[in-house]
Subunit: 473 residues, 2 copies
């Protein structure tokens, strides 16, 4: 463990001020453990700078002294990407105090926001300006924009609006030597060289610290239709989506697959969740369609479209929410599924994607392979089938010791990942690599691709001080 | 001029075969001059490989021998980005024979296509599969997908569908050492490290040769409404767009600003173009709205929306096309504007962008500054106001010698660019840098940004053999 010299400590403390300085063990603790409790590190100090200039000076000082830096947002990530190493020789730079919305321009449909702004706060501010910022995910009440950018966050609205990367027009970044790149452009078209912002998005803080961004806003939808559909199979859900896209003018915002087991357990464990159908069905899809104000009655159109889908056999039964409360109830069921897994004894998780049309084949093969390995395991695959992104989770068999089950994690991960890699899939669709998936990335990635990433890393962070041990190691 | 050794020539000829070998001066000529005739180069040889493997072997051979490579698609670019240097020591690799559509998957809404495929051919193939590939630009009958990718092409539908970059899921790239990176992913979500494809898009062939891509398809719109609107000012056009986006459910595909002078001259020079209004107006907007099949009558909704806009004063008068022919006529007017400029004596051109909300201020300031420099010049600004991307062109004053007018190009460019840079604008919104805008990029870009680009270039193409003299020089 490298202890910072007294001189460096004093200088850092001067730079961030008392409000930005945390060095007592008890005060540092919340910044040193990840949200799932999978990893705990140590840090020389936790710094909470208030301005981009402060971040720049802190990074410059660390750079000159070879001190590793761990950038941190809301610390809600699932791959321990913002946890310092156990050695205690790294400095955590938490962006939480840089939480200003610098400017909203409704005419321009843009917002300039700092990295530490909480996602839900940005959603609220956009709505107040009669706009929507269309990133939505479970952690939105505490995750921060900087972390959303560093991990290219996904969520439930990407089918229509894309991932975080697609919502970015410009970035401000503190580079590994402390210089500030002002790329805060508000341009919809710009072709003046390499598009540097894409380097920093999804780089998990390994190439620099994103301090602010220009993001796209969209019109606030004026009508919403939400429906829960029973479908005979994942295959039917994919065909249904392909058929509904033209029919709705591509206005489908969310399209979430839910297996029977999930609806069943949600009904058991979550207050207020009930099965709206009169008999059980093998699979369900939660759909949300958002439309403008002058385009006819969207709920009626949804009812007609689903009636047609029932005739074609894509849908067995459907309930279109008749009011806001019913729609929220359907969403509550979907959003409870992370919690439901804990209640049901825990799960082995996979955050994977395959081409949308391959989802049925993947589910079939991966389920069979997992059940071959653990015959009583309970497959619990759910999520964003419209993006080919399934949270392919496996619930503990009833009666199995949690420890014996969790001990099979790597074995099951390997089985599942090998199946999807053969289909051109991804071992991390939404959550990133961080520390948790590093070994698996090394095992599975194209060596040429890793080499290219290493070259980019060496070009931008030659001393390797930015988030050491994450993503590429 | 470096002449290739006989050994290298023989080896290259073996690699590409007779059909891929062009070395006679007359046969090479079409590959050595750009579309606008601004630049003519020389080449050691023009190679037209047929497969990715051939491209890889050719590049590997050139790399080992330090031979500069100029990748070339349809050669329709406007900044001489695909023209070899006058020294004649570079090899042109034209991708035109690699024009296969490898696979269309309508269920997946994706297509795998080779770099040499002509854009219009891809549009046609998508339509045959009941899908749309939504990139559309003037050169679509001859430009190629590889060039569209290397320049991040824009066009008239980006308001809704984004630029070429936004339409890409995966790439296959021959790297500067000849190795092939297979990044042909079909994934909507993937967070497994740096997103390398974004490095090659818009890099103008300076980091590698894109040989194939996985692109997104979209539902074929089932209804289209096209209208020509008279508006009092650019300010009104921006307010109109902001108001129409929510009202239409964000279904506006194109929103093109046209000044009175342009409609006037188009009526004079282009057969079949007429002014549909009973009196002249200062500005016009061509709008296209595309919608799904089950969303009411889109033409009627457009009429209602425009009636509301007339009441608010955003619109002076409007004609909604009553049939396909009338809609096409409106588009023909818009598309003729490049030609009209030639008929009217030529123009000094700018392909610029500013934030959408700044378009009115930019037009006002830039027009005043240009008229101060050349009092009789005729401003002819038109284009994609919905993207903040204006082709801010200046027609020759009537009676001025073309040569004296064109001699003012750099002076006028500098005036215009300095104004837009103060607004956070771009000196090249759609066309790229190539050879033509290199000096201007060096004059105007943030030195830190150029340094980062140079570092990326050195990391991926350390010997500098990929498209030397373009973009970064």
């Amino acid at each position: 463990m490298t202890i910072l010299t007294a001189e460096i400590r004093d200088r850092l403390r001067d730079l961030v001020g008392e409000k930005g300085w945390i060095d007592k063990a008890a005060d540092m603790a919340p910044y040193l453990t990840d949200w799932r409790g999978l990893a705990t590190g140590r840090a020389a100090v936790v710094l909470r700078p208030e301005t981009t200039a402060q971040v720049g000076e802190v990074v410059a000082l660390c750079s000159r002294n070879g001190i590793g830096i761990v950038p941190q947002g809301g610390n809600t990530g699932l791959v321990a990407g913002a946890v310092p190493s156990p050695a205690g020789d790294q400095v955590v730079i938490n962006l939480g105090r840089m939480n200003r919305i610098r400017e909203i321009d409704p005419l321009d449909y843009t917002v300039v926001v700092e990295a530490g702004c909480i996602l839900a706060d940005l959603q609220t501010a956009a709505k107040a300006a009669d706009r929507v910022f269309p990133l939505s995910l479970g952690a939105e009440g505490s995750c921060q924009i900087g972390g959303n950018l560093a991990t290219n966050a996904g969520g439930v609205m990407t089918l229509r609006y894309g991932n975080m990367r697609d919502l970015v027009l410009g970035l401000e970044v503190v580079l590994p030597d402390g210089r500030i790149w002002n790329g805060l452009r508000r341009l919809r078209k710009n072709n003046t060289g390499y598009d540097l912002k894409h380097l920093f998005i999804a780089a998990e803080g390994t190439l620099g610290i994103i301090t602010a961004a220009v993001l796209k806003l969209f019109p606030l939808p004026q009508q919403t239709a939400i429906a829960l559909m029973a479908v005979p199979s994942p295959q039917a859900s994919v065909a249904l989506l392909a058929a509904l896209r033209p029919r709705t003018g591509d206005a489908i915002t969310a399209f979430e697959l839910v297996p029977r087991l999930a609806l069943d357990l949600a009904g058991r464990y979550v207050p207020d969740v009930t099965d709206p159908f009169d008999k059980p069905h093998p699979w369900y899809v939660l759909i949300e369609i958002d439309a403008g104000g002058e385009r006819g009655d969207i709920r009626q159109m949804t009812e007609e479209a689903l009636a047609a889908a029932i005739e074609k056999g894509f849908v067995l039964d459907a309930v279109v929410a008749q009011n806001v409360a019913q729609g929220q109830k359907f969403w509550r069921m979907r959003e409870s599924l992370a919690e439901v897994q804990k209640e049901a004894g825990g799960s082995i998780r996979h955050d994977i994607s395959v081409p949308v049309s391959r989802v049925p084949q993947f589910l079939e093969e991966a389920t069979a392979a997992v059940l071959k390995a653990i015959p009583d395991a309970r497959p619990f695959p759910f999520g964003h089938v419209g993006d080919g992104n399934i949270h392919f989770n496996i619930l503990k068999p009833i009666g199995m010791e949690p420890k014996s089950f969790q001990a099979r994690t790597t074995e099951i991960n390997t089985i599942v990942h090998d199946i999807l890699l053969a289909m051109g899939g991804s071992i991390s669709a939404e959550h990133g690599i961080g520390a948790v998936r590093r070994a698996e990335l090394e095992r599975t990635a194209d060596p040429l691709e890793l080499e290219l990433m290493q070259r980019v890393k060496a070009a931008l962070d030659p001393d390797g001080i930015m988030n050491p041990g994450k993503l590429l190691g």
